[in-house]
Amino acid sequence: MSGALEQDTRDTALPPERLACELARVWRTPPGLLGFIGTVDHKRIAHRYIATAFVFLALGGVLALAMRLQLARPEARLIGPDRYNQIFTMHGATMMFLFAVPVMEAMAVYLVPLMVGTRNIAFPRLNAFSYWIYLAGGILLWAAFAIDMGPDVGWFAYVPLSGPNYGSGKRADIWAQMITFTELAALAVAVEIVVTVLKQRAPGMSLDRIPLFVWSMLVTAFAVIGALPAIMVASTSLILDRLVGTHFYNPSEGGDVLLWQHLFWFFGHPEVYIIFLPAVGMVSTIITTFARRPVFGYLALVLSAISTGVLAFGLWVHHMFATGLPRLGESFFTASSMAIAIPNGVQIFCWLATLALGRPVLRVPMLFVLAFFFTFIIGGMTGVMVASVPLDTQVHDTYFVVAHFHYVLIGGSVFPLIGAVYYWFPKITGRMMSEYVGRWVAGLLFAGFNLTFFPMHILGLIGMPRRVYTYPASLSWGGLNLFVSMSAVVLALGFLLFFVDALRSMRGGAVAGSDPWGAPTLEWATPSPPPSYNFAYIPVVNGLYPLWDDATGVNVATGLRVDRRELIVSSVTEARPEARESSPRNSVWPFWTAIATSVVLIWSIFSPWAVVWGSVPIGIALIGWFWPKATPEDLA
């Protein structure tokens, strides 16, 4: 591959044009199918990840519209209960496991290496594997739904409804195994992000110079590592109960049904923050850039993110206030659930102060931040209300809660995410999205969202429970439901317009240049879209806002090899360079490992022996993956 260059050629030996050319050759992804499945470029993988996640968002949105169609009037018979139960389960599972978590991690897979100034993510092959596994999990779930085998037990799959006695067929198993797929993918990315952030930062990027989005993703990655094992234990034991007759959740044989809820929510509540914390980082980033000044209270924002991540593990029981747990335990979880409002408050005040002290420019990403403020704070307020045990017993499992968590998840995460897409789109594609269309998108999404979800608070308070496929006409919920259903169309139009804008701008948007917003962080120091090697020279950082501190140039370090993929490993706190490290080449083995793993996971729904026999092809694929290849990258 590197025949043109002698071994151990350094970047200092080449003029800039030649250097770019050689780096592009060493880091390139070859065209064609093998190149496509073998690439380990974090940007290409993130591309796919993001695109796939948005496809799942659209699919989940279609399901939401189907539900709104059915609920538009009382006693409608458009969708029967069996299909409806599959639909709302699919909606929740798709949005949580196939959209929200993956899209946030995918944004990080794209941005974190650029923001910390390195050339690829840590463990790039694991990254490739992660995407294929995620894709396989998504296909499994949706293929099952297409043949009427979609899970129908809710995204939370409470036992005994999902257990061997009541969950008929293989529907609950599909749910449980989809969990395994997506969690495997999410855990892999979490490990990559943790190691990239801790060990691959540009020289000089000490802990207090890490961009806030990167901090958020670091906390998120740790939350993933802490939370996801719980759902793995839960889904595995559920499959065992269903497949080989264990009794984890069978009360007549010493099992316990509430054990499931503890495990599920020990994962499920941090999950909310796994979705929300990246959005916090996006908001901080967008506000800083458009307020045209350093963020107010950097340290406070970092500490809030960390304490949110920690507190997130002490709240799970507030999903179980209606199960009749002992009073003392409930009181503790009320206090902890209330307490998490404090770090969130700190963040909001810091952002407001940043805006007040700066000169805010209202470009489209900022509009989404404003929409975020308006809606997320309402969600936070209703969050305080459901944290109160007595109040929760009234609104729990009603449309009030549906309204609450959509305010938190859409207002708190999806609005910042769409803002972030407008913000980073020029970096990712090299082209701007439309400012004009963007304003319409923001307006439609904001109006559509609030008109759709605000009335649900009232519906819940006047008694409408969640997860019902219909309701009697006599309860006078019909009017509000019809209103909600019509508003949902506005919301859907907003998303449609967003997709149209994104697809059109990809080809026809105005050319962006490397830094169209005048932003301060490292990803804007490289061309848009970034070359395969990200940076021709590894940047050196001596402040939180390297591009504002230095308006014309960028400090860099030299001395890296050009004849192989090489990057810098630096120390955890100071980011002192410790070693030059090679970064793995493209490989098709992660793809084969993912295929082998998928076959085993699906097979294991039907037979426990799959795990035994299936470990053989997985083992072979893994040996292929890790066996030394005598490339320059392998030698040290």
Binding site: L198, T246, E253
Partner: protein, 202 residues
Amino acid sequence: MRQPRVVADLSKLPLHGFETASLTWWGTLAFMLIEGTGFLLTIAVYLYLVAVAPRWPIGAPPPDWRAGTATTLVLLLSLVPNVMIARAAERQDIRRVRVLLIVMAAFGTAPIPLRVLEFRSLNVLWDSNAYGSVTWFLLGLHSTHFVTDLAETFVLVAVMFTRHGENRRRFGDVQDNALYWNFVVFTWLPIYAVLYGVPRLT
């Protein structure tokens, strides 16, 4: 485009650092964190079921402790060559590493028949009741990790005897494998205490 201004020269940095300067070392650590959380949660499940049950163990005598204790002893003993191999890898002493890898492979294989014996001396089946389920699950979970690391050790034996062996990166792999083996041994101790101790306490 911004003009690059060279402020540092990294050409003298070592290629591939060891331990905290190695990415794979941190990766191994992260996976240990994930799996450690998994073990911790499974132990929590075990104790939760103990708390719910009126009597523990349910419908079975406590497991026979002999096979489990033998496993524990072998695993503890294996720490000695494991520490030695980590040191040899640090010194990049290929001959010692090769010999010790074979020793480690033997130490990894020895507990397998013991583990089979352990399953047989649990006195309960996974489908008898929740006690049986969680006992088998916990023991099975640990066995999976232990077998996985053993497989990795065998692959390393093969690699180190090829021309790829004498390489800083491979020595790093040996170190990471030793680190993971420590994890397998140390996570076993609380599991051993729970599996064999708790049924005797209550």
